[in-house]
Symmetry: C2
Subunit: 270 residues, 2 copies
């Protein structure tokens, strides 16, 4: 049995830089926690790929993070949370594993007054039905309406959050959810908070936007509090960033997601 200590880091992984929106929320809520983040930038994206491939990649990612003796593993990737959370949990053994889907689903059910909930995500996440199952586990009478929005990821990475084309694409994707009279919309992909403005403009003010990144930060706090594993003082290395590739424009794209200047990054092999 692994010995979990408060000074150990929280391990977080994602298919690429998107999970830095989760890091951003964790740092806002838990500034004393040392974080180790791995982004699999050499094989990104996961969301358009098949389940066997996603499960293989998830196992590689989990094994990598386990080398850093984390006290908690956060699956920031919605696609992995949807299709391979069990793979990560099995490898993590007694280390707690939290995925963004359970967190987002719980917050959506809490916030939706009429229990008509929209979910947007990658093709793999939406086709898995994972948000729907999780929402129904909590509230069996909820109605869930899902829509894959594959162009939102490249639009966010291209820095076109405020472009007219993004608004047209948002309308194309979201109209059928609005016609279903949802009152809450889950951003089921780590990239989507970057497009929050265009999404808000399309859905109007009567729909509550649920950010899974915010939701999971709260879950992490509860879990660590419960297990007496909260770190009490500022760590020497607040954020360690590992990536499997450093493509061009990496720094500028990653900084948009993290919201502050990047620390040094380390290139690793998976």
């Amino acid at each position: 049995m692994t010995k979990l200590t408060a000074a150990s880091p929280i391990g977080i992984f994602d298919s690429g830089v998107g999970g830095l929106t989760v890091v951003r929320q964790i740092r806002a809520l838990l500034p004393n926690e040392p974080l180790v983040y791995f982004g699999d930038t050499a094989r990104v994206p996961y969301g358009t790929k098949s389940q066997p491939t996603i499960r293989k990649y998830a196992a590689d990612d989990a094994r990598l993070l386990l080398k850093y003796d984390p006290k908690l593993i956060v699956v920031a990737c919605n696609t992995v949370s949807a299709l391979a959370l069990d793979v990560v949990k099995e490898l993590a053994d007694d280390i707690p594993v939290l995925g963004v889907i359970a967190a987002g689903a719980r917050l959506a059910v809490e916030q939706s007054k009429i229990k008509r909930i929209g979910v947007i995500g990658t093709s793999a996440t939406v086709n898995s039905g994972a948000y729907q199952s999780e929402i129904h586990r909590i509230e069996k009478n909820a109605f869930v309406f899902s829509k894959a929005c594959p162009l939102f990821v490249p639009l966010a990475e291209e820095g076109l959050a405020a472009h007219d084309a993004t608004k047209l694409i948002a309308k194309e994707y979201l109209t059928e959810l609005l016609e279903a009279n949802i009152d809450a919309l889950v951003l089921g992909c780590t990239h989507y908070p970057i497009l929050r403005g265009a999404i808000r403009e399309t859905v109007g003010n009567s729909v509550t936007i649920i950010d899974s990144a915010e939701a999971i930060a709260r879950d992490i706090k509860s879990t660590l509090t419960e297990k007496s594993l909260l770190n009490s003082s500022m760590p020497c290395v607040p954020l360690k960033l590992l990536v499997s590739d450093v493509p061009q424009r990496f720094k500028s794209i990653a900084e948009v997601f993290l919201g502050v200047e990047l620390p040094d990054i380390e290139l690793v092999e998976v």
Copy 2:
């Protein structure tokens, strides 16, 4: 030394399904040639990744195709042609290797009357300057204007070729090339022929569109003719399709690129 025979297949690879636009042109020009195509759908896209990662993936792809004893290797991927053609040539030894960039550059110089040539492609292809070098090698006084168009790939894969958002994005990307008074535009990515309509609408009729897929099909014919390696009768297996992942919607997306119904596909590991 490998013995090359006319009955051997042409090996073609790409980062994903995009290279099927090249297969389509080869089949149109050389219907008797047996083809083996590999699409690295588990690690697609390459065009946003770094050179070391692209070179590693290119070596894996070449090694896989070499198992099929090809008489010629076609690098359908513009990104690999730009950044790793030497890697493929070294592994292929005495088997001829053709890349789409040399083919597209030659055709562009031929067709441009005023030698003001636009090139569009992935970030990796454009940043490599490979089209520019190749065009200048042929015609040192040519002016080359390049622009990365990262959203064109997901727009093509999402089936939004005719959507208003695609026209807006095309205008966003192509305006600066038009302002440079180009009279030829190289489609330097295998996905772009799918968006030919929106690109044509944006650039107008005075710009000649150069499709590298058409260009390389002609180069293949010349090379095989010169080496007396053209196959003379209809092969038993005209097209063998290998992929490293079979994601959802694979069949429908791939059929858009190939233009006909897909043959059986084989899942391989790289």
